[in-house]
Chain length 496, copies 2
């Protein structure tokens, strides 16, 4: 190995040391850390983040990239350099003073968002959002003046995806989903979810979900499961991939589906090839592909008929008495109820993508200057009515529900819907080589996990999302698979 | 504030960020971290430690110290600069290559120690110990060529304490303790500890210890209690002081006294004055003073007659049936049984200091070249016989029991005995203003905690250990208080 190559890998290792420390500090804050220590902790995180930022924008790194790029022959090195260069450029191109001001604004906006949501008063947040949009437009122009600002932002979360990509699939998907929703509304089948709402102890819920996580192949020697208010997956290092979940003792669905969802994210991170471990390629390739893995396990596995056929008896051994008396159909229908609702994170798998499309359309219009920030609540509500047939009483239940925009995260939402489409495409492709229904029913998840590892996980960031999709499925983004899956599943449940 | 002063405090803050990250990583490794991630974690810790070390030996720091020392007027700044300079000198004076070789040797020796202890074979460890002693002599000469090497090492753990200090108190203390032990052996009172060995669930033990910790004033909003194999206290930041404990469900003494011991350490760290928080003075002033605080709570409070008089009924509400039937005297005698034993960390409060003295005498002789490393097992055993009247069957129960020497920690052991003497002196002094027995019996620990805070905790490292002792008690190190305390307590228990 050349001197420069060694120096480059050493620098990456240093970055990873900071990243691990910062990730652990965040994990600890969200799981365990005593309240009073938060202020000191925030200062420590801030300093370590600065150090990490300094490394990723150092002249040294730039010199190494410039020296190695023309001569690198190894594929991992070439792609790692490209990742490092992308990060370097992204960080370097924003003038430091502007970046600092933006960080201040962001943290202020997030705290105002909390207040605005509590009071249901969008006007409190409006000026901050206006400023954030202005900043993000400016940053996008620094990053890439030749692309439309919103395309530049989309690329941050989903490299290669543009408005054009989305506009090719979203309108048809929306039409299919709203049609299906309409039919479901008119169906005589009315799932009774009240049967699910019964006291189910946290310990028993946990025992069941751990049993499922183990069958999925989540490696508890290289991870752990904890409780938090907001469930998440976090990677400390390639052999330390933690997940958290939240238990509602009156509604087991939160923890059961939530844990399996985070488990899907974790499987991705735990199964990236060892050869990528100490490189910038050692993580999921995009927000959307990551979400495809969590949604695959949550929806395509854990909400499937096959899963419950095979696991209902086991589930009952953990469940309280009243759940043991429910017949299979009542139960299966109840866990798959479709119902227009206001809150995205509580939406069922059919209406979920409609929530995303509303956000996408608003973001796009904002960045195209077709609407102003002040118009958001009104347009939000009218789109809710158009797509879901319901109108929120207050902005707290509407435009103020998500923290993303207050954090400056414009362009992030589409990844949720993309992940869903990817998952359906992967699921369809998987049928070529595996009888997934049969495997899922038997609880024999190993071949499924192996397929996902072989096709997706192992590559980490070494393949871009659309490249990966093409390699796995032989085609590009295609919403038909999701539509077919949902149509088939819900036609059966709702006897359409 | 001058520019240089501000720069100095900024630098300290940076050091603290590293220290917090490293402390959290260690805490996590010992409490929660998944096994498979250890190797990556070790690399991250090693890199961050290097960064922290780089800061504490930076030319920048040295320049700031040199600039500020002659002009500093503020007491906190003056003492902080002195601490920083001491650390700078200590780290700078060892040639880097030697330090690296030493670190390698140390880590190798610790792993060989595990094997040697398992096999009860001292000869495996001997060559490593010989090298470690050679290194430590050399390091001591770098640090301070004018003092005897062992005095230099003692000063690292207990600033100001020398062999002379120890030799003034240890022999008389040893004579008193061995006399007392002899009388106890001949007493007709034979505490029955078998009554304590009964199944006592972890949850109930924990509930009782938490109740005591709360009465002690341990702030759970600025700390937390977890389970580990080896109990410890660790400070992440001034408002995040964590403790751990170990539960033996067949012998509650481990967790009850162990938790209170760690709680004593934690109270010290939690009650250092806010003004010292972001300075190098924000920790306990020495190993010995720290130990005085843990031993104060463990022995002078939690093993006292007053404590059990006041808490036996509460204790019984948590305890299993068989413990509820024991009468007070049987119970109190059993938790205070004195018995010569091989293992230091399992020793009772009377014989404990004898274990320490054996180690001190061996260390001193080694560093004075009066004995060789190879002689350690034999001399160990003969001293055990002389002081405690028992001889270990194997070196695993003898000279190999502690990890300290394999880690190069020579000069550390005396602090344990010093802590004990300090605690007795503080306890005696406290009687001038507080009726401690009465307060302890009532469980009214607040005035005791306040006294300790006013007299000791608040000062952190702003007072050196012997200076603090003088200020609090009006005298220097004096073993008489410990002897009186033990004589009085055990004469009563054993009817001497």
């Amino acid at each position: 190995m050349s001197d420069a190559t060694q120096q480059y890998w050493d620098l990456i290792k240093e970055q990873k040391a900071y990243e691990e420390a910062i990730a652990l500090m965040h994990w600890d804050l969200r799981t365990k850390a005593p309240k009073s220590g938060m202020e000191y902790r925030a200062e420590a995180i801030s300093y370590l983040s600065q150090q990490s930022h300094r490394l990723s924008t150092s002249d040294k790194l730039k010199e190494l990239i410039d020296e190695l790029k023309p001569i690198a022959e190894d594929d991992i090195l070439i792609k790692s350099l490209a990742e490092s260069e992308k990060e370097y450029d992204r960080n370097k191109k924003i003038p430091e003073a502007e970046f600092k001001a933006y960080i201040m604004l962001q943290s202020k906006a997030e705290s105002v968002w909390g207040e605005a949501r509590e009071k249901g008063d969008f006007s409190l947040l409006q000026p901050y959002l206006e400023e954030l949009v202005t900043y993000k437009k400016k940053f996008a122009s620094y990053w890439n003046a030749e692309q439309h600002a919103y395309d530049v932002l989309l690329d941050m979360y989903e490299p290669g995806v543009t408005m054009e990509t989305l506009d090719e699939v979203f309108p048809a998907l929306r039409k299919s989903l709203t049609n299906l929703l309409e039919q479901i509304k008119q169906s005589n089948v009315k799932p009774d979810t009240s049967v699910l709402q019964t006291h189910f102890s946290k310990e028993q819920q946990k025992a069941f979900t751990i049993s499922v996580l183990k069958k999925m192949g989540y490696d508890f020697e290289a991870g752990r499961l904890d409780d938090t208010i907001h469930p998440f997956e976090i990677t400390l290092n390639p052999k330390d991939v933690r997940i958290t979940t939240r238990y509602d003792e009156e509604d087991f669905r939160m923890a059961v589906f939530g844990t399996i969802h985070e488990g899907g994210h974790a499987l991705y991170e735990q199964n990236i090839a060892e050869a990528l471990a100490a490189t910038p390629l050692a993580s999921g390739t995009s927000m959307g592909i990551h979400e495809s893995q969590s949604l695959f396990w949550e929806n395509f596995v854990a909400r499937s008929e096959a899963f419950w056929k095979g696991h209902f008896e086991e589930f009952k051994t953990y469940a309280p008495a009243s759940l043991k008396e429910i017949d299979f159909d009542t139960f299966y229908q109840a866990v798959n109820e479709v119902k227009a609702s206001f809150i995205r994170i509580e939406a069922d798998e059919l209406t979920y993508a409609l929530h995303i499309m509303i956000r996408y359309e608003l973001e796009k219009a904002l960045f195209k200057d077709e609407i102003a920030v002040k118009d958001l609540p009104e347009i939000w509500n009218s789109k809710m009515e158009e797509y879901l047939g319901i109108v929120p009483d207050s902005d707290a239940q509407g435009v103020l529900q998500d923290i993303h925009w207050s954090g400056g995260d414009f362009g992030y939402f589409p990844s949720y819907a993309l992940g869903y489409m990817y998952a359906a495409q992967f699921h369809a492709k998987m049928q070529d080589s595996l009888d997934t229904d049969n495997l899922i029913e038997k609880g024999d998840f190993a071949p499924i996990k192996q397929w996902l590892t072989d096709q997706i996980h192992q590559y980490g960031k070494a393949k871009k999302p659309l490249e990966l999709l093409q390699d796995v499925t032989g085609e590009g983004l295609n919403a038909d698979y999701l539509v077919s899956y949902l149509t088939e599943k819900y036609s059966k449940i709702y006897q359409l």
